[in-house]
Every structure is written in C-alpha cells, then in structure tokens.
C-alpha cells in the first residue's frame, strides 16, 4: 500500500444513543448524548473539540451544540449534502481538516427523530421544492407525478435494473433475510432476536409495485451516532486502539442526481459508487480482495447489489446471484453490514454503519468478523476505507 498517499488520521471514539421509534427527547439532546459518549470512548473532553461536521439536513445547529456541550471554540465546521448518501462525507471533511491543519479534534454526528417527529419514509405532501444545498432539486420533477417517497424515487431505476438483468422482488428478499439475521444477534439492533424468512418477505405488503415490499425498505428510527477523529500521532496516546482512516471521499458524478439517478448514460451503473471506489482503491492501492467487511448503504434491499457491483465485489448485473450464493453472509467472501445495516439495526442515515465499521476494525462488534484489516464504507455519494494502524 502506498502509505504516503493515505491519511494520517484515525477515528478514536464512537458514541451512540439507543435506537428506538420514540426517543422521548429532542434531537439536540440526542446529538449531545452521542457526542459525549464518543468523547468518553476516546478519553477526550468537549474542550478538546475544535472541529465538527454533519449533514445539511440535520436539524441541529452547530452553535447550539457548542453552547450545550461547553466546547471552547470550533475552528472548523462543515455540512455535507445528499442525505445518507453523503454520510461518509463528514468523515472525509474531518480527515481533510486534520490533515490540513484546520482542526485537531473533529466530531462528526447525525441525530434524528425521524420516526417520532417526522416520518422519513412517508410522502412529501407539499411541493416545497426540496431543501436547498441538500441535492433535493429533483423533487420539482417528481412530486407532480405522485413520486413522493424515497421508495418511489428509487423504484424507477430499480425497475430498469430488474428489467435488464431479470431480477425479481423475490430475489431482493435474500438481502433482507441476511441483514435481519445479522440484526437478530446484535443487542443494539431494533430487530434484535427478530429474524425473518423469505416467506415473510414475500408476504409483506407492497410499498411500490412491483419493486419494493415493506421488508425491502429500511426502517425509520430515532437516535444519534457520533465519531471523533484526530491525528494518528495524537491517537496513540488515547484510550482506544485507533482505527485509521486510510481515505474518505465524496462523489457527484456527471449528470447524476441524489436519489433520482435517472439521467446518466447507463442507469443500471451506480456511477457515484463507482467514482468513490475508484478514488478509494486508487488512493490506497487496495482492491476488493483486501476488504474483509462491507458497510453498504441499504436504504432499500436492491442498493446492496449496486454497492457490491460498484465496489468490484461482483460485476454489474451479478448482484442478485452473488447474494443468493451466500457471499454477503457473515461467513461469506465479503460479509455485509454485520450489525444488520439500516434494514436490521437502525436507520441513523449511514452513521450507525460507520460506527459498526469502527467496531469491526477494533474487534469489538456483536457479530465480529474474524481478522478484519480493512472495512469499506460505501454510502453512494461518499465512502471510506478504515483499517488497522
């Protein structure tokens, strides 16, 4: 590996709240709890924090967190668009800020009551034009046609993929069954001890015919996750074994859209994931065979195919057979989301997958994969490779 081209930063702390359907407290409190837990995990204090990054669509304000937690001064703060697709973006910003000397200790967080306060999976009822800066301009071109949910938006490119490669909704069930199986042995997962069968998947109601059933969709969750990043040098003096950020990146490819990727040349090619993979593998000198765990962003079951293909674990169009052949199981060639992912653990918008990536490298996960050296985080419009120091 070309060590001189990878980052000299590490994740030194992770923290999270419980994952629920009704947290009973504000999103600001959830954020503070998760950040405090991450700092405690690292052995750092709020006064050590001088950088912060989150999502454009996180409802919290940096100033409120600084005032709540007693942070002395944020020298660096940033927000990343594209919702959960951008969830590895705060990691990339933290890495760049520290490597570039803009900050010494950067916190990334996401806090949401997206089940109890608002329904993330439900429809937009008003044509608001989206959330500026978040990549939601596509709503102008979707809502007047009754395409008003994440499931509806995603189903259009999913159906094209199904048509081209002869994939059916029943095929998707193998993804959901595996993720729910993983969640069933993860005590932090909402679906702990609640595995499903293929028959359960096929009996669940349609959300978008003939593409997604209920058990193809991620859940809606309340909760928060935070991570703490600092330099490798400082990391060596802290409480946890550091988890190195080998590289983290974002991608907004040509003619691509957030969620509604209808316009680029080959709709069946997940161009954002391809761009992230090219950057991550190119920068680190690693390839798919060097990755022991894939934390792949599962807003819908089919997305696992897209991430597997974009990151070179199988070829485009082979995702369904690859999954059916058992490759993503915990004992498969590329175990995917041992925490259960969003479908099984919780939907904290990609951030709980980053926390699981850290646990897998540390060797402390509930469903620990053996001999993990590198974990790939693939969120679509962002990604990262984490590894041992």
């Amino acid at each position: 590996m070309a060590r001189d081209r990878v980052s000299n930063t590490a994740i030194v702390g992770i923290g999270q709240t419980e994952f629920s359907k009704d947290s009973g407290r504000s999103e600001l409190q959830l954020a503070c709890e998760a950040i405090k837990a991450a700092l405690d995990d690292a052995g750092l204090e709020p006064a050590d924090v001088d950088g912060m990054s989150t999502f454009t669509i996180d409802n919290n304000d940096d100033v409120d967190i600084v005032r709540s937690m007693g942070i002395d001064n944020l020298r660096f703060s940033s927000r990343v668009g594209h919702g959960g697709g951008g969830s590895a973006g705060p990691l990339a910003h933290a890495m760049a800020a520290i490597d570039g000397g803009l900050a010494d200790v950067v916190v990334g967080y996401r806090a949401m009551n997206e089940r109890s306060e608002y329904r993330f999976g439900q429809s937009q009822m008003e044509n608001t034009g989206g959330s500026p800066g978040a990549g939601t301009g596509f709503i102008e071109w979707s809502l007047p046609f009754g395409s008003a949910t994440a499931a509806a938006w995603t189903s259009v490119q999913a159906q094209r993929y199904m048509h081209r490669y002869g994939v059916t909704n029943e095929d998707f069930g193998h993804v959901s069954v595996q993720l729910r199986k993983n969640a069933s042995t993860n005590p932090n997962a909402w679906f702990y001890q609640k595995p499903i069968t293929l028959a359960d998947h096929q009996a669940s109601r349609w959300i978008v015919e003939p593409v997604f059933r209920l058990l193809d969709c991620t859940q809606e969750s309340d909760g928060a996750v935070a991570f703490v990043v600092t330099s490798l040098e400082r990391a060596r003096d802290l409480r946890q074994s550091p988890v190195r950020i080998l590289h983290a990146t974002q991608a907004i490819p040509r003619n691509f859209e957030t969620v509604t990727s209808y316009y680029h040349d080959d709709v069946c090619s997940f161009d954002a994931g391809v761009a992230c993979a090219s950057e991550l593998y190119g920068r680190t000198g690693l390839g798919p065979r060097d990755i022991q765990v894939g934390m792949l962003y599962d807003h819908f079951s089919i997305a696992i195919y897209w991430h597997l293909e974009a990151n070179g674990f199988c070829k485009q169009g082979e995702g369904a057979d690859f999954v059916k052949d058992g490759h993503i199981a915990l004992d498969g060639s590329i175990p995917v989301s041992p925490n259960g992912g969003h479908i099984g653990e919780a939907y904290i918008h990609g951030m709980n997958n980053i926390a699981e990536a850290v646990r897998q490298v540390r060797g402390t996960a509930a469903n620990q994969v053996a001999d993990v050296e590198h974990v790939l985080v693939s969120a679509g419009m962002s990604g990262a490779i984490l590894g041992r120091v």
Partner: protein, 137 residues
C-alpha cells in the same frame, strides 16, 4: 385519468419556468443548447457539453419510449388516483423525463413501448405532461 384531482402544481424556478408554462399551453418544450444543439433535461442554464449559456426552447415531438415505471401504492396520496403509474420516458430527442403512464392496463406495460404526450391540469392552474400508448396514425 380524471383531470379534476387536485394534483399538486409544479413549482417553477427561474430555470424551469418556460417548461411548466409550456405544459399550461399544451406544448412539450425541451431545452437545447444554442451553440452545440445538445438537448438537456431537467432545464439548467449552462450546457454541460460546451458551457454555452445560449439556449433554445423548442417543441419536442412528444413521442417517447418507456424507459422504466413503478406504481407507488403506500402511502396512498390523496391528491392522486389510486394506481397512478410513475414512468420514466425517453423522448425521441434523446432526453429522459419523469411523468405518468396513463390509459393502459398494467399487464400490457412493456419497457420500450412507444408513447405519446398529453397534458392534465393540476391545482393552482398548473399543468403537467403525461404519456399514454402511441395511437395508430
């Protein structure tokens, strides 16, 4: 499809106003670069091929093929008829556009089938483009 349903009106921006006004006039307009002639959709001010700000709003043939489709069934939106089909169509001019597929039995849908445009009114005196199977001419 009934035209009396209070379908939400388009929300034009300065970049897209001409397109939605075209729908109100019953004309499907496409945006073409005034320099290199390449079509693009949704509308935006600069040509991604040659970076020209020259642009033309031209009437499209209204003929398309079905590129993909789906039927959102949950949650049922009160302002749309149950069973509304969302469709991504590819126009003769080479651009793709989201719309609805109408006047067809679901069992007859085939990706690649030829379609033609028509228009329906929305709430607030708006209008949007719709597609149905191409009729014999």
């Amino acid at each position: 499809m009934s035209e009396t349903i209070a379908r939400p009106a388009p929300r034009p921006t300065r970049n897209s106003a001409f397109f939605w006004e075209g729908c109100r006039q019953g004309v499907l307009l496409g945006q073409r670069c005034g320099e290199c002639g390449v079509f693009r959709h949704p509308p935006r001010p600069m040509c991604p091929e040659c970076q020209s700000l020259e642009r033309q709003e031209v009437e499209l043939s209204g003929r398309a093929t079905l590129y993909s489709w789906a039927k959102p069934v949950h949650p049922q939106l009160p302002m749309f008829e149950a069973g509304t089909l969302v469709a991504l169509v590819e126009l003769e001019e080479g651009i793709r556009m989201l719309s609805n597929l109408c006047e067809i039995e679901e069992s007859a849908i085939e990706i690649g089938m030829p379609l033609e445009v028509f228009f329906v009114e929305t709430a607030d005196d708006g209008a949007v483009h719709q597609f149905r199977p191409l009729r014999d001419r």
